[in-house]
Structure formats: structure tokens, C-alpha cells
Symmetry: C2
Subunit: 355 residues, 2 copies
């Protein structure tokens, strides 16, 4: 069986880390005898926008919908195109139209990486953030009134549906069941956001009834961010709305010192549409073009992609290779952000060689 993967490098360092992601996925595919075919697309980038006036061609959905997965670099370059246009014209479209309603992000303190938190060692921090990825605070309903006057007011609606909330909660509870600690933490703000968030809490309580073996707790998002810093060891699976999940899945990797290497999976669990795999770091215009970006986020996302396609062993092998290269700590191999003097390519090659 051959797997067809659509490759979109996007903007900035996306174009630099993608070749290394491909290198390592290909190495793993070879080792484990997996048949993968890559097809590259140039849309979903700000340069495409500058040439065509839109982020993607009109038929992007048709072009992409039958792939087995999308392997994505990073999108956004605010000096070329405002972020809300570039993102809503690409990444957010993929998430919605391909109904990738789970955004899954591991937060794991890796060997060789220094946590900014005092006294934390590999093994101390190891949890997942499960983020709702299609609705909630990222809505397209609302507008502006009394424009240009003193009375100007803007309104944006947060929309949560029972379907939308329940399905991501179910994914999170199911994930918690596969983990030794079987613990789920819900991010809320029902004391302040008084309509949608009490509803979220209600659905968590309802879903919890079907999972008596899972220990469930909840925190308001303000104190939850504090607890990520103070007690990262408390967490196992953390589930949140689109916005809260977004925040926690940057803060979590920051606490593990891996904001530049964290991966993510945008998953359509039913497999009706392709899922999308991308590093968390974004396009980083400030270091783009220098060949110094850390490719591990892209490579680790590739591991999540292989796991999603059914090759858990291959995915695990990539993560093991990443850990090995990080522990080794070779200055000539590692990029600057993790204490070396190497390049995007030297780090990608070293990981590929391990396989």
C-alpha cells in the first residue's frame, strides 16, 4: 500500500526545515519498508499570495482532499501579508474544511534540553495538550459598527457546539486511557467567560461519566498557566478550547525548553479527510534564510505523521533518533537554539543517519 503525502513548505523557515523533515521521514520509510510518495505544492504561502492575490487556488480542496496526509512547514510573514489573512487563507482553512478537529501537541522534556524551570529533569514533564481545532474563539462571526467614530465597537462571537465539544473531549479521554496515569485536566474559565465556559464544564462532567477510570480535574486558564510553570508534573492529558489549547500548547513546550522543536498534529480522527502535521514554531522571519533553524519540530511532526498512518514503530524510531542526537550534544551538529554551532542541514542529516 502506497501513501500519498502532500507537502507544503509555506513561508520563512518552513522552506528550510521541510527538506530535513522529508529526509528523515524518507530514511524511516526506507528502514521500515513503508511506501510513501510525496507531492509538493507551492500554495499556502505568502509568496503565492503576492503572486495570485489569494493564499491558495480556488480548487485547493479538490487538489488536496484525497491525500493521506499533509506535511506542512509554517505559514505567515506579516511584512508581506497580515497574519489574519495568511492564516485564515491557509492553515485555518485546512483545519476547518478537512475537519481536523483535534490538535495534538506533546510537551516532553527531552534529554539534552535544558528546561527554563529550575530543577526539572527529563521524565519530570511529559504530557499532551489536546486542543479543539475548528470552532470556539476562532470564529468568523462578528463585525464592526460606528466605524471611525468615537462610538466604534467590534464584536466577535465564540461558538461552541455540542458536537464540536464532545468529539474533542472524547478524543482526549480516549488518549488519557492509553496513558499509565489516566489523568485528564480540563482548561476552563467559567468564572469569567460566563456562557460558553460553563457549557464546556458541563460537557466535561457529562463525558467523564463514561470514563470512570479517568481521574478528571479542571483549572481556570489563568491559574492553569501558573500551574504549568509551578507544577508541570501534575499533567498527563490537558484538554482545552481552540484558544486555551493554543496558549497551553505554546506554554507547555516553553516549559520543556522546546518551543523551537515541538511538533503538532491536526487530526481528523475518522480519516474522512487528510490530517496535517506541522511544527509549532511558525515561520520565524527573523532567522529565515540563514540555515540555522532547528528542524526537529518538522522531523518530530513527521514522526507523528507516520504514527498516524499506522506505523507507530517508525514514528518511535524517529523520536528515539532525535533523543539520541540531542543527548550526544555534538556542537557541530546541533543548531544554536540548543547550544551548538551546526546548521539546519547538519542536524537533519545526523538524525537521518541514526535511522
Amino acid at each position: 500500500m502506497s501513501h500519498r503525502i502532500a507537502v507544503i513548505a509555506g513561508d520563512g523557515i518552513g522552506t528550510e526545515v521541510m527538506p530535513e523533515g522529508l529526509r528523515v521521514v524518507e530514511a524511516a520509510a526506507k528502514r521500515f519498508g513503508i511506501d510513501i510518495a510525496f507531492t509538493t505544492f507551492d500554495f499556502g504561502s505568502c509568496d503565492y499570495y503576492l503572486a495570485h492575490g489569494q493564499m491558495m487556488p480556488d480548487d485547493w480542496f479538490e487538489q488536496l482532499k484525497d491525500f493521506d496526509a499533509l506535511f506542512y512547514g509554517a505559514v505567515g510573514w506579516p511584512e508581506k501579508v497580515p497574519d489574519h489573512i495568511s492564516l485564515w487563507g491557509s492553515l485555518i482553512q485546512f483545519r476547518r474544511r478537512f475537519d481536523q478537529y483535534v490538535n495534538l501537541r506533546p510537551c516532553k522534556l527531552m534529554p539534552g534540553i535544558k528546561s527554563p524551570l529550575a530543577g526539572r529533569e527529563p521524565g519530570d514533564i511529559d504530557f499532551y495538550v489536546v486542543r479543539e481545532n475548528t470552532e470556539g474563539e476562532y470564529s468568523s462571526i462578528g463585525g464592526k459598527m460606528f466605524e471611525g467614530t468615537e462610538r466604534e465597537v467590534v464584536i466577535q462571537e465564540t461558538v461552541m457546539s455540542r458536537t464540536g465539544v464532545d468529539r474533542v473531549l472524547k478524543y482526549a479521554f480516549d488518549l488519557a486511557q492509553t496513558r499509565p496515569r489516566k489523568k485528564l485536566t480540563s482548561a476552563t474559565k467559567s468564572n469569567g467567560i460566563s456562557i460558553t465556559m460553563p457549557y464546556w464544564d458541563e460537557r466535561v462532567a457529562e463525558m467523564a461519566k463514561a470514563y470512570p477510570d479517568i481521574e478528571v480535574d479542571k483549572f481556570h486558564i489563568d491559574i492553569l498557566t501558573a500551574n504549568f510553570v509551578l507544577h508541570p508534573d501534575w499533567f498527563d492529558v490537558v484538554v482545552g478550547s481552540n484558544l486555551f489549547g493554543d496558549i497551553l500548547s505554546d506554554l507547555g513546550p516553553a516549559c520543556t525548553g522546546t518551543i523551537g522543536i515541538a511538533p503538532s498534529a491536526n487530526i481528523n480522527p475518522e480519516g474522512n479527510f487528510p490530517s496535517l502535521f506541522e511544527p509549532v514554531h511558525g515561520s520565524a522571519p527573523d532567522i529565515a534564510g540563514k540555515g540555522i533553524a532547528n528542524p526537529i519540530g518538522q522531523i518530530w511532526s513527521g514522526a507523528m505523521m507516520l504514527e498516524h498512518l499506522g506505523y507507530k514503530e517508525a514514528g518511535d524510531a524517529i523520536v528515539t533518533a532525535i533523543e539520541a542526537v540531542l543527548s550526544e550534544g555534538d556542537q557541530n551538529v546541533l543548531t544554536r537554539d540548543v547550544g551548538g554551532q551546526g546548521t539546519t542541514e547538519s542536524l537533519g542529516k545526523a538524525i537521518a543517519e541514526r535511522l
Copy 2:
């Protein structure tokens, strides 16, 4: 001139830390010859709700509006009253009806306090979070449809007005001007929250024109929380919407190890209505009734209150007294959360004695 202060201890440890707050404010008032009269109210607590079916009497506004300030403990006890009822029936009413549109929270690494961040020393972290405090994500507009069915959907509207955004930005820019670094950071999420947040950015850019001496930057809230952990030294004055400010003003104190001692001021800058001063920590039902709560949040809030009333010297003297007692590190005085075996009272008394 005599100052009339309304005192509402509220729930949980609010009732335990308030006496120490009063003790220290009285000591400072005595030393600096300030004439203060306290009037205590029993409403604004969950026990009041259980007795009266509402958090406050109908005429609370009339009863309180002519005070010079409100000194507040903490409110909320979810097992007695759901949070969104207790909070929207008290604290959030004060903020709105008394138009306390600025929520000001210092994040300062104090001597004797260990930061959870590796290698950070007192002096390294010292910034303010300025939070919009009356509108934004904390709205009361929205509702539920198709209740109880599979099609159930809930909607809540975020509302930002030009008046509401501009006035808190102005406060933040003015504050930045009083600081040596003159730097302002805006919290946004205009790449995802595509209507209200680009508007917020627009107003920041507009306001910045009037403050050419202020260095302005902005971060999306996800990476901003990461940067609080990775680079807390970057920040001077951080301004955010109601929700983003809420998150950052718990995360900031967590990074300085002071979540249990951080103060806050809910300010009506024009003085049309009383401002409100309260610790950040909340009612903490889990440790209530044990006499072990740290009273510094309440005491420090008292210092902010004195400064607001025009007695900067008295406020500074309280902060100096807090720093002195913390640096001394007397085990018998300090509460457990800061490494001692003392009580709420022993710590309050020690600080009062310094004055």
C-alpha cells in the same frame, strides 16, 4: 482629610488575610499621619448568598459608591455557589458599575522568594500587567440554542469598544512613561481571533503615535506566555484585554514565585467611583480555616490602595517592610508557602512591626 474605606473580606482565606491587611494599613496610616476610617460589610460573599439568595443587597451600589476605596479579600466557594454566579454577582459588578477599567498587577521577583525559573534573581523580573477590566471577553451577551439536543450550540460575544480599548491603552502608555525602560508590550491574537484582535492592534498602533518615546512591541498571546517563562526580563509594561490580562497576571506572579502574595488594583483612574484593591490569590477553600494563608497579597494590595489615595511614601514603606521580612527569612514568622512554619497572623504582625 479623612479617607473612608469599605472593607469586604468575602470568602475563604479572604476572611483570614483581611485582618492582617487592616493591621498593616493601620500601622502605616499611624506612622504617616493618615486619617483612615474603615467600614466593614458582610455582603459580597457566598455565605451572604446562602442566607439571602443573592450576593449583595439591591442597594449595594448606593451603599458603596461614596467610599474612597474598597478593600476586598477574596470571593468564591464553588461548593456553596457556582463561581460564575458568585463572581458575576460581586467582583465583576464592582469592576463594571464602578467603572474600574484598569486592573493593575505588579510582577516583581522579591528578595527571599525563589522563582520557579532557573537562575532568576531579584531585580531580573519587574514589570506590570495592565489589564482591561470591564469589557472584552467577559461579556454577558450570548446564549444557548437547541438546548438538550445533539444540535445544541452556545454563543458568547466578545465586545470591544473604542472608548474601552483606548482608555486602558492610554493608562498603560502613561505608566510606561513613568518607568526607566519606557517599554510597552501588547498582548494580541490577531492571527486567530480575526475581528476583535486586529482591532486591538489597530488601536495600539494609533495610540503609539502619541507616545513616540515609548518602545512598543506585541506578541500573540500563545508565544507571549512562552516568553514570560523564557524571557521575563524582556517586559516592562504589558497590556492586554480582559482575558489576556487575566491570564498574564496569574502567569507573571507564578514566574516570580509569588502567586500567593501578588496584589492587584482595580482602578477607576478618574476617581468618579471607588477603586478596589484585592490580592490575586482568591479564596482558596482548600487551605481556608487553618490560619496558614499568606497575608502578603492583602497587605501589598493595601500598599497599592494607599498609593492610589495619594500616599506613595506610605505605600512604599509597606512594600519595603514586606521585602525586609521576606529577606530576613525567619521560619517562625513566614507562612509555609514561603518556606516557614508561621501563621497568617505571625507574618502580618511582623510586617506591621517594621512600620
